[in-house]
Symmetry: C2
Subunit: 255 residues, 2 copies
């Protein structure tokens, strides 16, 4: 793991890193102003077509860092942001563009594309977790959070299904393919699931079925008025509190 | 309106009142410790078979008073608590008991009974609002909140449909009779709707249909794991924040 650059704004330290061909950012409370604390980590995914430094990702990360003191890590999904698009991904995108141009339904294509990206993302997040777990200010024994909607929710669902370090997740607006449903049944950690009630891309019943499939004893469905991408900010505030409930007991101040 | 008794515990002032044959309680931040402030009012209903001073009602009221400084009013529904049960209500309860003893479905009976109580409750809450609006420490110009599940949700839905003083409501676990659905369509204020995901008494689809029917531009569905009456405490904390978003701008400190 290499830290390639760092900067600090408004009390938030931003460290860019690479782990083999994974490009990522770690945001933390700046020890220069906040003092050093060992705090839990939240992984944050980005929607399809965006990247690790997308505006929404940064705003949510800043909120988690500044209100709860969490570390937040964001990485580019395969073929996104700073990463080269593979021949396979170029083909997926072409297929999507052709369907859109022809006015054909794009849902099944996006769902399958997301599934393919999610499969490849899981080992990358695990590699990222291995590397970040070595840092002195991240408590390697604390549960890790995962937060992300749409594509990132597909990724988080599969990651939470297989990775025991994930201890709580805020997900939402996933397609509900058989693979996603299978992953959901294997998730046992607390999940807050955000469902845009008027999602034009994903059938409401499919979203409810996915929430129902979650194997978690503690799961919370938050449905809000609006389309696929229009989740109100109050859900970010509530996500911070959700992670505080399930990760916060593990914060240890350095004495 | 007559205040019949008052007491103060842990910084919360409890005033018992009667308005003709309505028996109620008003909880407020005790001016002796908190100072006098003009604050919004939240009306709190109780589930069927319980009363204005039920344990859950008191715990939720105390939370709203102590975290947000709201006034909280609770009244006995017709035939509940300190109030005489009418011949009509005696008949309803007998019918319910007979069905339960015979192992017949009680849902339709409770739904109709709740509807009957709700119809009679609306003018009583309006009378209560008139009376409480005269108190100097309640801002008569501020929107009023309503909070309650099951029977109280039936009442709140109908009250919010017709009473312009209601500005936000936390409801949930209502039956979805045609009358309830009709009321829901007329509600336009922000609503947080709590839906027990494994409600053995109310069909999940009926609960979702009721949320869908709400005419509010801002509505928030919170579904949680558990039965009809088992809503986790975090929803009370979130209800306090919900009312703070929609009523709090109207708090005026007395200078």
């Amino acid at each position: 793991m290499d830290f390639t650059s760092q900067s600090s704004t408004d009390g938030i330290l931003e460290r860019n890193f690479t782990i083999s061909d994974i490009s990522g950012i770690l945001w933390s409370a700046d020890p220069a102003t906040a003092g050093t604390a060992i705090a839990p980590l939240v992984l944050m995914g980005h929607p399809g077509g965006l990247h690790k430094r997308a505006e929404g990702v940064m705003a949510r990360a800043a909120h988690l860092v500044s209100t709860q003191g969490f570390h937040v890590a964001s990485i580019d999904a395969p073929g996104h942001g700073d990463r080269t698009r593979s021949a396979e991904d170029v083909e997926w995108v072409d297929k999507l563009m052709r369907a859109r141009a022809a006015g054909e339904p794009v849902g099944p294509i996006i769902s399958a594309f997301n599934g393919s990206i999610a499969e490849r993302s899981v080992p990358e997040w695990q590699q990222t977790l291995d590397a970040l777990g070595e840092l002195a200010d991240i408590d390697a024994n604390a549960p890790v959070g995962f937060m992300g909607m749409t594509l990132a929710s597909e990724i988080g669902m599969r990651l939470a299904a297989v990775e025991p370090r994930i201890g709580a997740a805020v997900l939402g607006a996933s397609f509900a393919s058989p693979d996603t449903l299978r992953a959901a049944r294997q998730v046992t950690v607390p999940v807050q699931y955000l469902l845009p009630w008027d999602d034009g891309d994903i059938d409401r019943e499919a979203g409810l079925a996915l929430f129902d499939a979650l194997g978690s004893e503690q799961k919370f469905l938050h449905a809000t008025v609006g389309q696929h991408h229009s989740v109100p900010w109050v859900e970010t505030e509530d996500a911070a509190r959700f992670f505080a409930r399930f990760l916060r007991p593990f914060v240890r101040n350095v004495t």
